[in-house]
Symmetry: C2
């Protein structure tokens, strides 16, 4: 019987080390997770990853599978060229760690590594909305704003893994200070956090949302989806916050497209659940700002790779 | 006797079709130019390119050379993948032209095409300040602001040749309207034109430059180098204009680096003649805004490829 080709994908998060066996077509066959326990230190996390890999390898053997590669998505600056993670605040790694070399010593495997948003873009590229694209971008609108790039048909994250940090593009003088310390980052306009914070700032300055009053939503309990639902319901307050996001996300997309010039931009993360309401607003705003009218437009889509994108994308880092 | 490998490079400008024979190492061996006469139409320009190619081919034969490829730099949106120039305002091409296909028919050669700033980046990559770089950027600070990208060790200009238009990144609400129609483009802060225009606007609003008075420089005759020299001479007016440029060029570089994450950023064009004065000001401004302190910094350099960069870079488009 011929052995089946399999890949190990690991989504290394602040809470769990979520691993899976993925086949050639990007289908998740089996998954296995352990708590990350980042507070116990780098060595402990390394051993956790090795344990997850061992379990998955055993499962692959049970299935007559052969592991062709191991990929790991990291919530920080991960450079697959050097195998170094430069920084990873969520895991408390404040100085560079030689993740590939250390895992090679511990497990014998040469792993691929990537930023988690880059990995999510790889999942979109293999099984989602960026399939067959030559140049494409995933923008994740979640707690923060991240991004992943497909360039010349390959995942790309720059020379030091910084190429996913598009949430820290500066798009305006700024309303409040970003976690990174700068003013005006895209993340302070287009994340779920921004929708909440901009709403709270507006309420605090005396503005009123009829929608929030009607729904009994208090300032300290606002969620991003409340703002989106309010905007869909035509509440002027929520519409203004939503439009502030759209205006600045439009600038972010313009700046991104001016560099990467993709065929498709995919929106992921919680805010992207606004779906066509968001896409339509962006398309109208982008059309107004469009300058290269003879060149084809890029398409905006909502992410398709689903909840296992972190594992599938990590596994697919190995497939070139 | 063994034939020498040669490439034809053509720098297609608004004034001249400047061509040259370039060897494997990127050395210009011979050059030959003709007027572009863009007003006579696309077909006339095509024939001009074919004539320049014929002369260079003859010269190559005289030198026992073999032409391995032909590359053309175009002052517009040029997509080397499809061979289409989407738009080229300088040459009055307002709708897409199939430049590769048309030249193939006329000359028998399959040419490579690229935006002129992309081509200049290729010259830096082969014989200038981006040699050996994995990811690098050329930013040209001239009449406008353009850019060229080296990504994964290859020239990159996106899916439709727009990936060089970094002068149209939006970096601020804006002081005056860009040629493209938008407000806040990097080009309206960091081009030679911007230094002049921002100076004239400040003078018109009643500000005074002691340096301009001393040197007898009148508002309508200001050149970018006057502003730079004034800033170097510590004139408060010129320093303020220069610093406005530096502040916004810093935002532009931050945004670029957040996507491309290069090892080296090269500055070209007239404004880059400010040299170390400009580099030092940018390094100080960038250091203040630096957020990924564990990752290596990118280096800023001045372009090195010289006056023939347009021809050499175009020729080197053929060399992968």
């Amino acid at each position: 019987m011929e052995a089946n080709h399999m890949y190990i994908g690991i989504d290394l998060g602040g809470t769990n080390i979520a691993g899976g066996l993925v086949d050639d077509s990007g289908t998740l066959l089996f998954n296995y997770s352990m708590p990350t326990e980042a507070a116990k230190g780098y060595q402990h996390v390394l051993e956790g990853i090795a344990n997850v890999m061992a379990t998955l390898k055993q499962e692959a053997t049970n299935r007559q599978g052969v592991i062709l590669g191991v990929g790991i998505g990291v919530p920080g600056l991960a450079d697959d060229f050097s195998g170094v993670v430069y920084e990873c605040v969520n895991l408390l790694w404040k100085s560079p760690v030689t993740l590939r070399a250390d895992l090679k010593e511990l497990t014998g495997y040469d792993v691929h590594i990537g930023n988690d948003a880059s990995v999510a873009a790889v999942a979109e590229f293999r099984v989602g909305a960026l399939r067959q694209v030559r140049n494409g971008v995933l923008v994740t609108l979640g707690t923060g704003v991240g991004g992943g790039l497909i360039v010349n048909g390959q995942p790309f994250s720059g020379s030091h893994g910084v190429g996913s940090e598009i949430g820290h593009m500066v798009v305006a003088p700024g309303e409040y200070r970003c976690n990174c310390g700068r003013m005006g980052c895209l993340e302070t306009y287009a994340s779920a956090t921004a929708l909440i914070k901009l709403s709270q700032m507006a309420l605090q300055s005396g503005e009123v949302s009829e929608y929030f009053i009607e729904k009994g939503i208090e300032s300290e309990r606002i969620e991003a989806k409340d703002v989106i639902e309010g905007a869909k319901a035509n509440d002027p307050f929520c519409l203004r916050i939503f439009n502030t996001m759209v205006t600045h996300l439009t600038i972010g997309l313009i700046n991104l497209v001016t560099v990467i010039d993709p065929e498709i931009v995919v929106l992921g993360g919680g805010v992207s659940k606004a779906g066509h309401f968001l896409i339509e607003a962006l398309e109208i705003a982008l059309e107004k700002e469009r300058i290269f009218r003879a060149a084809p437009k890029f398409e905006i889509k909502i992410a398709e790779a689903g909840n296992d994108a972190g594992i599938i994308g990590a596994a697919m880092l190995c497939k070139n």
